[in-house]
């Protein structure tokens, strides 16, 4: 077990705590967009797909890597576009939303 693994494990542990911390207080109306947004973020597997296809040496690896690139692109692009479409609905009411805040405070 080398130092590299230990370094990755450190990154892993810190990311776990960051991941839990940053979404601890989310209003329920944002649960769906949040799920969809984080869905787009794990589309970063596209980077991994590019790397495996980019280093493929056999036909099998080429086919699998190529499929991975397609699927990962679907994940990234679809994820971000769907999330944006959902969140589009929340805009355009800044004046009213601000008014509500005033009343609340």
């Amino acid at each position: 077990m080398g130092n590299v693994l230990l370094q990755y494990a450190t990154v892993l542990m810190l990311s776990i705590f960051v991941g839990i911390e940053i979404i601890a207080k989310v209003p329920s109306i944002l649960h769906t967009p949040l799920m969809s947004g984080s869905n787009a973020i794990h589309g970063v597997i596209l980077v991994g797909s590019m790397l495996v296809l980019g280093s493929a040496t056999t036909n099998l690896e080429e086919v699998l890597g190529f499929l991975a690139v397609i699927l990962a692109t679907l994940n990234v692009v679809g994820g971000f576009v769907v999330t944006d479409r959902m969140l589009e609905m929340f805009k355009a009411k800044p004046a009213k939303a601000a008014k509500k805040d005033e009343v609340a405070s």
């Binding site: 776990i16 705590f17 989310v26 109306i29 794990h42 790397l51 080429e62 190529f66 690139v69 990962a72």
Partner: protein
């Protein structure tokens, strides 16, 4: 600065945007910028990857990579832009599933690439975990999609010995991983792949349609973990950070969602919720009297009200009746009647789904009241209009200890003076549970398609 250092630096920038983006997605004001920021980070990471060198060589197959991306782009953009808002949950399930599939493929490809060089045991372990989790997420999401799209029954699919069989599948997969680690036999990898696929299906089958969104959130988290596992194998901090962020936040989000339904995660996953059609009284249900009325009756009732509460549910969205509903609300307001919407946290098919659907129909944000506020306002409402909702107003959740939804917070429509219940038929709702509210003496049932009935209601209120 060397090229590799620069690329790693760009990866760090990308990882930071993901963290800031997730934080932003938790606040209504910054959510959209957050999502855009993550997209920018993703583009940076992808562009940087094109310049990466592997063992001193530039990337091979750049043409194939670009081709794959173009194919993905051409399919994903129209799908994401054109799909109806009501079908959003299915779409999220699909995009999650393909991500899990990609993670599994990356792990398999990497395994085939490195196994000749006898990698350390922990590397093999990461690969195998990536395959297992990614594949479960892939096939599980496919079934979740089929349930939501109604390609198969939304009811839980159960059979005798199911739990035991699932446990055997799960333990079998872990056993295979150990076997591969010990023997180094690569052919067993394909057996693991097949078993993981079956496990994903078997895991999702007993989960009822109403609970599928919670499940999608969990599978989303799984995909994150699979991505993190691939990150270990490929030695990419970016993949580890992004995957783990999604994995950890996804599990927390899943718990928040099941809490919004008043249930534990274990209950959602393992109780085959809603497979029994019953509350204790359903045997006599068909014979019991209900009061039904015409849209005109309901219109008159509302015309005399001074406060009307609207309780929308998924049926509203299915009938595409959000716009007509808003029109009705505007008619009532024109007559000086106060209108508010009582939104259950899980109204629609996902938490927050109903807010999105109503916002699409330009319903003013400040008329949407969340559960607690809505319940206290309902006490002074003259009429509660239930449109396409069912389980979220079912009093069994607070009265009937034997009911499967017991403990779920509900909107107490029966607090209002009168209840008008728009319904297609006497069929029970999504969770398959009989609703006592239908038999409440306060309740007037108006049968028919939601959009149709609402249009008639608008006319009735206008004429009044």
């Amino acid at each position: 600065m060397s090229r590799e250092t620069l690329i790693d630096l760009l990866y760090l920038v990308a990882a930071t945007t993901f963290i800031v983006a997730l934080k932003g997605l938790g606040s209504p004001k910054r959510a959209r910028q957050g999502n855009l920021l993550a997209a920018v980070g993703m583009v940076i990471a992808i562009v940087a990857t094109f310049f990466k060198q592997i063992d001193g060589h530039p990337l091979h197959h750049v043409g194939l990579i670009v081709l794959g991306m173009v194919i993905g782009l051409v399919v994903a953009v129209p799908a994401a832009r054109l799909v109806q808002m009501t079908a959003m949950p299915q779409l999220v399930a699909i995009f999650n599933g393909v991500g899990g599939g990609a993670a599994a493929l990356v792990s398999i490809t990497e395994f085939s690439h490195i196994h000749a060089s006898h990698p350390a045991t922990y590397v093999t372990l990461e690969v195998l975990l990536g395959v297992l989790i990614g594949t479960v997420s892939f096939s599980g999401s496919a079934i979740a999609y089929a349930k939501l799209q109604e390609l198969m029954t939304g009811r839980p699919v159960t059979y005798p010995g199911q739990q035991i069989l699932n446990a055997i599948f799960g333990l079998g997969a872990l056993g295979l991983i150990v076997a591969i680690l010990v023997s180094g036999a690569t052919s067993v990898l394909w057996v693991l792949l097949a078993l993981s696929f079956v496990l994903g299906i078997a895991f999702v089958l007993p989960i009822g349609g109403a609970d599928v969104p919670v499940l999608i959130s969990l599978l989303n988290s799984f995909t994150g973990l699979a991505v993190a596992a691939s990150g270990f194998t490929l030695g990419s901090n970016l993949l580890i950070v992004a995957g783990t962020l999604v994995g950890a936040s996804g599990i927390l989000l899943t718990r928040l969602m099941s809490k919004a339904m008043g249930r534990s995660l274990a209950n959602v996953l393992f109780s085959a919720f809603g497979s029994a059609t019953t509350s204790s009284s359903s045997a006599s249900a068909d014979q019991r009297p209900v009061r039904s009325g015409s849209p005109e009756d309901a219109g008159i009732l509302m015309g005399f009200a001074s406060r009307v509460a609207i309780i929308p549910g998924y049926g509203l969205a299915v009938a595409q009746a959000q716009h007509v509903l808003r029109e009705l609300a505007e008619q009532l307001e024109a007559k000086g009647i106060e209108v508010f919407y009582a939104i259950h946290p899980v109204a629609g098919r996902m938490p927050g789904h109903m807010n999105v659907l109503l916002a699409e129909a330009n319903v003013p944000y400040e008329q949407l009241l969340e559960l607690d506020e809505a319940n206290s306002e309902l006490q002074t409402a003259d009429v509660a209009l239930v449109v396409g909702a069912n389980d979220t107003v079912n009093p069994a959740a607070s009265d009937d200890k034997s009911s499967p939804i017991y403990g779920m917070p509900i909107i107490h429509a029966d607090l209002a003076e009168n209840v008008i219940f728009l319904k297609r038929s006497m069929r029970p709702g999504f969770a398959g549970i009989e609703n006592e509210l239908l038999y409440n003496p306060k309740t007037t049932l108006v049968f028919g398609d939601a959009k149709d009935t609402l249009t008639k209601l608008v006319a009735a209120v206008k004429a009044n």
